[in-house]
């Protein structure tokens, strides 16, 4: 235990920065959405948002980047939501390395299992549900 790495501050930082950055982006996008003139075809009501699936997040990274650099409110909100989703995933990924630094191989395995479950949900189950709609 001589070269014990302290996990706590690093993990606390990941969680805090992730939430702060995503909250700022979501708030900025929402403020822009309220302030900007609405583009033609913008839904009149919340029912229309749902029935038209308006603003459905793009899963194409280049398209998202284009939206964000053009200050598209919904693109900025989507980026914020994505960072929020990524925060726990990054936290788990960081834990894999931190447990490895502590040479706690049992927990490296457990953490890799959790990370795999998360990636499975995002890259396998999510697309399957999108396809099933």
């Amino acid at each position: 235990m001589t070269e014990k790495v302290d996990l706590n501050p690093i993990i606390a930082k990941i969680l805090r920065y992730g939430v702060v950055i995503s909250s700022v982006l979501i708030a900025l996008g929402t403020a822009l959405l309220l302030a900007k003139d609405t583009p033609s075809g913008f839904p009149e009501s919340i029912n229309q948002v749902v029935s038209e699936d308006y603003g459905r997040p793009t899963t194409n990274f280049h398209e998202l980047l284009f939206q964000v650099t053009n200050f598209d409110p919904l693109g900025i909100i989507t980026l914020g939501l994505l960072i929020l989703l990524a925060t726990p995933v990054v936290r788990v990924a960081a834990s894999v390395f931190l447990f490895a630094l502590e040479k706690d191989w049992k927990f490296v395995i457990f953490t890799v299992v959790v990370l795999s479950i998360l990636l499975f949900s995002i890259f396998v189950v999510g697309p399957a549900e999108a396809h099933a709609r």
């Binding site: 805090r16 909250s23 929402t30 699936d53 997040p57 549900e129």
Partner: protein, 292 residues
């Protein structure tokens, strides 16, 4: 017909209140989001769940960072149990979408209503924090898995040493908690705490902080499905996420030591009313199904 602007402003306001009262009473504000969006604004339940689960990640990660720094959270216990909660969350999310697409969303409404009413009951009868009998000697499994630790209790002014017991049963409860979280888009922290303090005999403080730590990762598993599946709409989800974050921030930072019982009773009443409404909605939907 609610306009987009009105939806954003009302939802923002309601979510701030939900996050504020939620953190004062010690329950995630997310549990109010789905009933409000479905009953008040007519949002389809799968989209309401998608909006809610995002806010659950935000509040969990925000508050967990403070406790992780305080070193009360047991990272190993959390990481290990997350194997069960994330698997459960995937099953729950897939089950919800299956029910909705099969025209059985009344089941989701009804389960949600029952959980709301039970949460109210749980707040009312919540026992003293010192009631938990803390286990100190590790059994074979918790020793092998290193699920033990100690923390300095500032109220008792002493070091509390603890070790988990009945790990498999605890895992079972965690799987159920994860499933409920994915099914309804809530944190299901109460069930996680039950699994740790009642089943595994961990100290109450360790249970609550570790539960909070796990809620974010659990929610990420189902959010991945709802987000990529297209059920997290940015317009619907944004005011919820910001509102709940702002509300729970003030709830934990500013008003940390005020827990008036009248506020608790009010919250329990709100939970009961929303619970009954959700069940009523479920019954109406199931009858509509029978009439077809």
């Amino acid at each position: 017909m609610v306009s987009v602007d009105a939806y954003i402003l009302y939802t923002l306001l309601i979510s701030v209140l939900a996050g504020l009262i939620g953190s004062l009473v010690g329950i995630g504000g997310g549990i109010l989001v789905v009933p409000v969006l479905t009953l008040l604004f007519g949002v389809p339940i799968q989209y309401a769940i998608g909006a809610s689960i995002v806010s659950v990640i935000a509040t969990s990660s925000g508050s967990a960072s403070a406790y992780v720094r305080d070193r009360i959270t047991n990272l190993r216990v959390g990481m290990f149990l997350e194997i069960a909660t994330t698997s459960g969350a995937i099953i729950g999310a897939v089950l919800t979408l299956f029910l909705v697409h099969s025209g059985l969303s009344w089941i989701v409404y009804t389960v949600f209503g029952i959980v709301l009413i039970y949460s109210g009951y749980d707040i009312l009868k919540r026992r003293n924090k010192s009631d938990t009998v803390v286990n100190q000697t590790p059994d074979k499994l918790s020793n092998y898995l290193n699920l033990k630790g100690s923390y300095y209790d500032s109220a008792l002014k002493k070091e509390i040493v603890y070790a988990a017991t009945r790990v498999p049963a605890g895992m079972g409860i965690m799987f159920c908690a994860g499933m409920l979280s994915g099914l309804l888009g809530i944190g299901s922290g109460a069930l996680k705490v039950l699994g740790m303090d009642t089943m595994m005999k961990l100290p109450f403080k360790v249970s609550t902080t570790t539960s909070n730590f796990m809620i974010g990762v659990t929610a990420a598993a189902s959010t991945g499905i709802f987000f990529i599946g297209g059920y997290v709409n940015p317009i619907l989800a944004a005011p919820v996420a910001i509102g709940v974050v702002i509300g729970s921030f003030f709830g934990t930072k500013v008003l940390v030591r005020t827990r008036p019982s009248s506020l608790r009773l009010l919250f329990v009443a709100v939970l009961a009313v929303l619970g009954i409404e959700m069940i009523r909605n479920g019954i109406v939907l199931s009858h509509a199904l029978g009439a077809l």
